[in-house]
């Protein structure tokens, strides 16, 4: 049986988001390579030294452009940063207006009760079949909520905090991250948390029926295997 799985807006914003995040990561590594050291506090030169250093930076196959070219890396980064923000706002407005957040993403009481079993099932690669596969399971819900409402907003905020102009909106607001250089460090760490999410996400997509999942995120149509009882 074929069922409608994902709304058009969710599918479109998902793919725009995927492209933007990959280009943001790679252009971000280009920007990082211009000064491949991280610090804690408002400035880099406090006498304390960096908390992390990557001599030579990231390899060129991970950066956009593929040569040391900070000016162009910044052009890519800020263009796709705007794409990410505008796309994210479109998704949020849609998801709140259509109750996608409350209906599909917010864990229910029974979700919370089944969290232990869900963790065990994920580890054994046992996945919901039939009707249950057309809803997000609790770990899916929690990880999507973490990405959509915590990691991505933090990414945007730590990005803004590196803007000397935006820092003047309310002088000192950057101190909530520990200062501009701490914010830069957090921006870097959260980027890698998003990469970690990406790999787990793609892994789960593959092990729970790659083509069916992929089709449902492109055309919206998802095939349900009827449970054999």
């Amino acid at each position: 049986m074929i069922q409608r799985r994902h709304a058009l807006t969710v599918r479109v914003t998902h793919w725009i988001n995927a492209v933007a995040l990959i280009l943001l990561l790679m252009s971000g590594l280009q920007i990082f390579n211009a000064h491949p050291s991280l610090y804690w506090g408002p400035s880099s030169y406090t006498g304390a030294g960096p908390i992390f250093e990557l001599a030579g930076g990231f390899p060129s196959w991970l950066t956009i452009p593929g040569t040391q070219w900070l000016a162009m890396g910044r052009r890519w980064h800020f263009f796709f940063a705007w794409i990410l923000v505008i796309n994210g706002l479109a998704y949020l407005i849609f998801s709140i207006a259509t109750h996608h957040v409350t209906r599909d993403l917010a864990p229910t009481r029974s979700d919370w009760r089944s969290i232990g079993r869900s963790i065990a099932d994920h580890l054994r690669l046992r996945h919901p079949q039939g009707e249950a596969a057309t809803r997000y399971n609790v770990l899916q819900k929690l990880s999507y909520i973490a990405v959509i409402f915590v990691l991505l907003p933090l990414m945007v905020l730590t990005g803004w905090s590196m803007s000397p102009r935006l820092d003047s909106v309310w002088p000192g607001w950057v101190d909530i991250f520990g200062g501009r250089q701490s914010a830069r460090t957090l921006h870097f760490v959260i980027a890698w948390l998003l990469v970690l999410f990406f790999f787990i996400h793609v892994f789960e997509v593959i092990v729970t029926g790659f083509w069916n999942n992929l089709r449902s995120m492109i055309t919206g149509r998802y095939r349900i295997e009827h449970e054999q009882r």
């Binding site: 408002p42 196959w61 452009p65 935006l166």
Partner: protein, 240 residues
Amino acid sequence: MASGGVLLSACDAASRNPHVTKVLSIGEFLSQHVQHAVTSRTALAQEFTEADLSPEFRSNGTDYPDSAEYRALAMNGFVDWRLRVDGLVERPVELSLDQLRAMRSRTQITRHDCVEGWSAIGKWTGTPLSEVLALVHPLADARYVMFYSADPMDDWGTRYYESIDMEDAYHPQTILAYALNDATLPIPNGAPLRLRLERQLGYKMAKYLMHIELVDSFARIHGGKGGYWEDEGYEWYAGI
């Protein structure tokens, strides 16, 4: 990995395509206009305390301008140095260091953010640019303030230059600094005079100032992008 390679070479080809880079620069346009919409003209950059000062303020780019003219000025402690202020003004002037020091001064402990990603905190003392503008009376059609430096950037004698708009020129923290951390501005940091523009990135803050010119457009000055690094592809608006 193969698809990554295709993506990369596509992005590299795109980076050299003027149509693509024009589309990418929509990002700069949006950043400039949205940042101006959400911040007031006179909102101040965060100021710090003496405890936050970087032990040594890092010098970036030129640390000693390679020209006979500058060497001669430096040898003499800059007593013969004059800052020329002209262009679209009623009263062009030439100011000595002593004259600048005699004007109203502002001291601020601020964070310097380099486009490369690092930050340093320094205590700057200088003449607010607004004071100098009050002296020369800008004409109504003046839209940008050009800053010309003493440091040659290549073998053809291209000198560092920068430009800002009138809004930034009149910002209270926009100063022509002659002192760093309560001492005369050191040569690696731009002696005898450098711009401090606290709400943009470091490359906007031209060092080794020789000449300030008010213009209505910078399209015909050097590469036409408004600054040395801008001509190399960096954003004119360096607010992020």
